[in-house]
């Protein structure tokens, strides 16, 4: 076999699990790979999860080693806290402009000791914990962040807002703080690009009948994930926001802002099994809790998912009710929630009172149109060259897609697609 004489770099946009897997597979082939990640750390949504289905593996335990491995790989260059600004050129020769946002921390000096964070007096709602806990104005997004450099959030920092403080600067043992940093434009020349820009959760207050944002004890699935996680705002205690008590009954509601033509007609693919998982986790955390899943069709389609669902029913005693709740009302005295639904298997109109509701919220892709010219499908996802036989190629030659940007999917499918995209990207990177 002839070894390719020359390879050009590849750019991966997005440092979630799909981007990480793509970069790992490219780097392993000896191809120089850039990861551009807009937040201060790679890890993406998976880093926010507690356990993963269908094996209940701890998400951080399997993700963190991958994050570290990709960061340490000599062929990978992480451009975190950076955003792609524009993409021009064509397959084999793309010019990409990247805006590197200032961290106001000299990363070559930062040890990741966290002294600055301890001393910072300015609390800010934590994005990682979805506002349910506070971080500081100088912060790591989460303790396992990669790279573990502090970042100053200029929007909240007292120095940038009121020209006072500078406590971090005073206490940093290595003089890494640099308030004078400016944004930088980096130009990359790459052979191919993998778009792994991921998704955001839709806002369930789009569905006013469910009372999210109005009723304290109606949470989203991702918020629940943070609550149940040991690294979360309650150190793994599932509590009601209204009284900080453990709920004795939790209802998980499927297809919120998904499979709903008024908001988002698509199925989000992972919610069914994710809710089955969360119902199990609730049982593990609060043994006497009554978990009920309201569903329309339980789409446990993947390998081992049906068995996982069977376990939830049999071993953990989770109740499953077929029916999409029409409304959720709050009981004023107890802040419990009254769910009105039709049990479509018995044809009975029912009301069920529970102490907490978790909405399995649908997703939409992170917007990409302002920096890359890629045709999107009607449903908002990146258009594929061929959904059957070429499901990682976009309509633009040399640009590939992996993860939820190509369509809602779970972690196993994202990783599979990421490896496929890496292979496609490498073919262009290594051809003459």
């Amino acid at each position: 076999m002839e070894i390719p004489k020359m390879t050009k770099p590849v750019l991966v946009i997005g440092g979630g699990i799909a981007g990480i897997q793509t970069a790992v597979d490219l780097a392993e082939q000896g191809i120089k790979t850039y990861i551009v990640e807009k937040t201060p750390s790679i890890g993406g949504k998976m880093a926010q999860l507690d356990k993963t289905f269908p094996t209940l593996d701890c998400a951080s335990c399997i993700l963190t080693p991958k994050m570290v491995a990709v960061a340490k790989n000599k062929n990978v260059e992480l451009l975190t806290y950076a955003e792609v600004q524009s993409v021009s050129g064509s397959a084999g020769d793309f010019t990409v402009k990247v805006l590197k946002k200032p961290r106001y921390v000299r990363i070559e000096k930062c040890l990741g000791c966290g002294e600055c964070i301890t001393k910072c007096p300015m609390p800010v709602p934590s994005e990682f914990n979805l506002g349910m806990s506070k971080r500081k104005a100088i912060y790591w997004p989460f303790p396992q962040a990669v790279p573990l450099f502090s970042t100053i959030d200029a929007e909240h920092c007292l120095y940038f807002t009121k020209n006072v403080c500078r406590v971090c600067e005073r206490f940093c043992p290595t003089e890494a703080i640099d308030f004078k940093q400016e944004p930088q434009i980096i130009e990359l020349n790459v052979a191919s690009i993998v778009v792994a820009t991921g998704f955001q959760m839709l806002d369930p207050s789009l569905l006013p009948t469910y009372g999210y944002g109005k009723h304290a004890n109606v949470r989203t699935s991702l918020e629940f994930e943070r609550l149940v996680s040991a690294t979360g705002p309650t150190a793994g205690e599932i509590v009601r926001l209204s009284d900080k008590k453990h709920p004795e009954s939790i209802a998980f509601i499927q297809c919120v802002c998904s499979r709903d033509v008024r908001i988002n007609p698509n199925c989000s693919a992972f919610c069914c099994t994710a809710s089955v998982k969360q119902a199990i986790l609730a049982k593990e955390h609060i043994p006497n809790v009554k978990s009920t899943v309201f569903y329309m069709d339980l789409r446990a389609f993947g390998k081992g998912y049906q068995e996982f669902y069977d376990r939830a029913r049999g071993e953990f005693g989770v109740d499953f009710i077929r029916g999409r709740p029409a409304k959720i009302d709050e009981v004023p005295e107890t802040k419990n929630l009254l769910i009105t639904y039709e049990n479509t298997q018995t044809g009975r109109l029912c009301k069920k009172e529970v102490e907490m509701v978790v909405l399995a919220v649908g997703v939409k892709i992170n917007p990409i149109e302002q920096f890359i010219d890629l045709p999107l499908e009607e449903d908002g996802y990146v258009e594929l060259a061929s959904p059957q036989l070429d499901p990682v190629s976009t309509r633009r030659e040399g640009i590939f897609v992996a993860g939820v940007a190509a369509g809602a999917k779970d972690i196993p499918d994202s990783v599979t697609q990421a490896s496929a995209a890496a292979m496609k990207a490498s073919i262009i990177a290594t051809s003459e």
Binding site: T209, C255, R259, D260, V261, R262, M296, D297, R322, G323, R324, P325, A326, K327, T340, Y341, E342, N343, T344, G347, R348, L349
Partner: protein, 398 residues
């Protein structure tokens, strides 16, 4: 394995019967028919139950609308046509507003009701007004033609100063034709109700004694007539108050006009003088104003399509709304023209009024007007069914 003997004919037939009785046949034709009657997005339904759970009226029995959609989609025509849910609905549109598939359950209920009017009518006469716009137009024109022909036959030579309706058409003729018409319409309605109750399998309370059954049926009748027909209490649970008042005005307006006519008849034909405003004339005018205003409200709503219930109008809706509005307007203007002694105006309005009212009444058992009978009947049966099941629960299974 060996063949011992050939299967007998009866053995084969038994097998066929078992197969036929144990299989549920899906008949997609029903959904197709309903689609043409206005349930255009029926197929989108994925059976989630949001419509049933959000409906302000499905409290005691969750029979609609999701169940009805299921019946329609599998072709369970008997079940669909037997459900009181068809007639309980007042079309608030909550189900359609909350449907995640935009399957428009409310329009489906309306389409099913049209289908029921078709199916409940004797000789399927109502099909004329629901099959196609061509057959509807022909039917409407035919009835109108009969009315005009009849009018020409009985028309006298009217006096012009002052106008005297008696000289245009004798009140005796109006009276006789009216009674005959009433009889025909009444018999038609009874025949239709008989067909409707056959669909609805009205068989409740068999286990109770005759007196209990009679009492329950009577109390349900009183309750449904007062609460649902006279006060239309359930309509108030549906969100729109303007619509409630319009519907009440239409109902009470029609009733008031009927009472005024009856009083005029009982006092002696057409003896109600113009002055000084006698009670029955005042009642007639007030009821006529209410009736016409409500007719106008519905007509304008349908034109403007600014509310869910008025957004999609079937031809049958337009005919009903137009006839009501026309009958009201011609009636009021006729009264006015009598007071201003305008003979030409009075006679032409009178002729028009008679034709429109003839159309409205003759078509009543076969068009949307029929809901004025079907709904109270269904509400009565529903009320009785609920009472009987309450009784059964009280008596336990002893």
């Amino acid at each position: 394995m060996s063949i011992t003997r050939p299967a007998s004919r009866s053995e084969v037939e038994t097998l066929t019967q078992i197969r036929d009785s144990s299989l549920t046949r899906v008949d997609s034709r029903l959904a197709g028919k309903l689609e043409r009657l206005g349930a255009s997005r029926l197929y989108r339904c994925y059976n989630c139950g949001t419509c049933t759970a959000i409906c302000p009226l499905s409290e005691e029995s969750a029979e609609f609308p999701r169940n009805l959609i299921r019946y329609a989609l599998i072709g369970a025509e008997e079940r669909l046509l037997s459900s009181p849910g068809l007639w309980l609905c007042y079309y608030c549109g909550e189900c359609s507003d909350n449907c995640p598939k935009d399957a428009d359950p409310a329009s489906f209920v309306m389409a099913s009701r049209r289908y029921a009017i078709e199916k409940y009518s004797w000789g399927k006469v109502a099909s004329v007004f629901y099959n196609s716009s061509a057959s509807t137009s022909i039917g409407l024109l035919a009835v109108t033609f009969i009315a005009i022909l009849g009018l020409l036959l009985v028309m006298g030579s009217p006096t012009f100063s002052p106008p005297n309706l008696q000289t245009f058409v004798s009140f005796q003729v109006i009276h006789d034709v009216g009674l005959a018409l009433g009889l025909i319409v009444g018999l038609s309605v009874l025949a239709n109700l008989a067909i409707m109750s056959k669909y609805m399998h009205v068989r409740t309370g068999e286990r109770f004694g005759l007196s209990t059954r009679l009492r329950t049926w009577l109390s349900s009748l009183i309750l449904s007539v007062t609460k649902q027909s006279m006060a239309q209490a359930d309509f108030l649970k549906c969100t729109n108050r303007n619509r409630y008042f319009a519907h009440m005005a239409l109902f009470w307006g029609f009733l008031g006009l009927s009472i005024a006519t009856a009083v005029d008849f009982l006092l002696g034909l057409g003896k109600t003088p113009l002055y000084p405003f006698p009670l029955q004339r005042v009642l007639g005018i007030l009821a006529g104003v209410a009736f016409t205003a409500a007719g106008g409200y519905y007509f304008i709503k349908r034109l403007r399509k600014d509310e869910r219930h008025a957004r999609s109008s079937h031809l049958s809706d337009w005919i009903f709304a137009s006839l009501i509005l026309l009958a009201g307007v011609t009636g009021l203007l006729l009264t006015l023209s009598l007071y201003i002694y305008s003979a030409t105006l009075a006679y032409s309005l009178y002729a028009l009024h008679l034709v429109v009212v003839f159309d409205l009444l003759v078509l009543a058992p076969f068009t949307k007007f029929a809901h004025a009978v079907y709904r109270p009947f269904a509400l009565w049966i529903n009320e009785a069914t609920l009472s009987f099941s309450k009784l059964e629960r009280l008596h336990g299974d002893s």
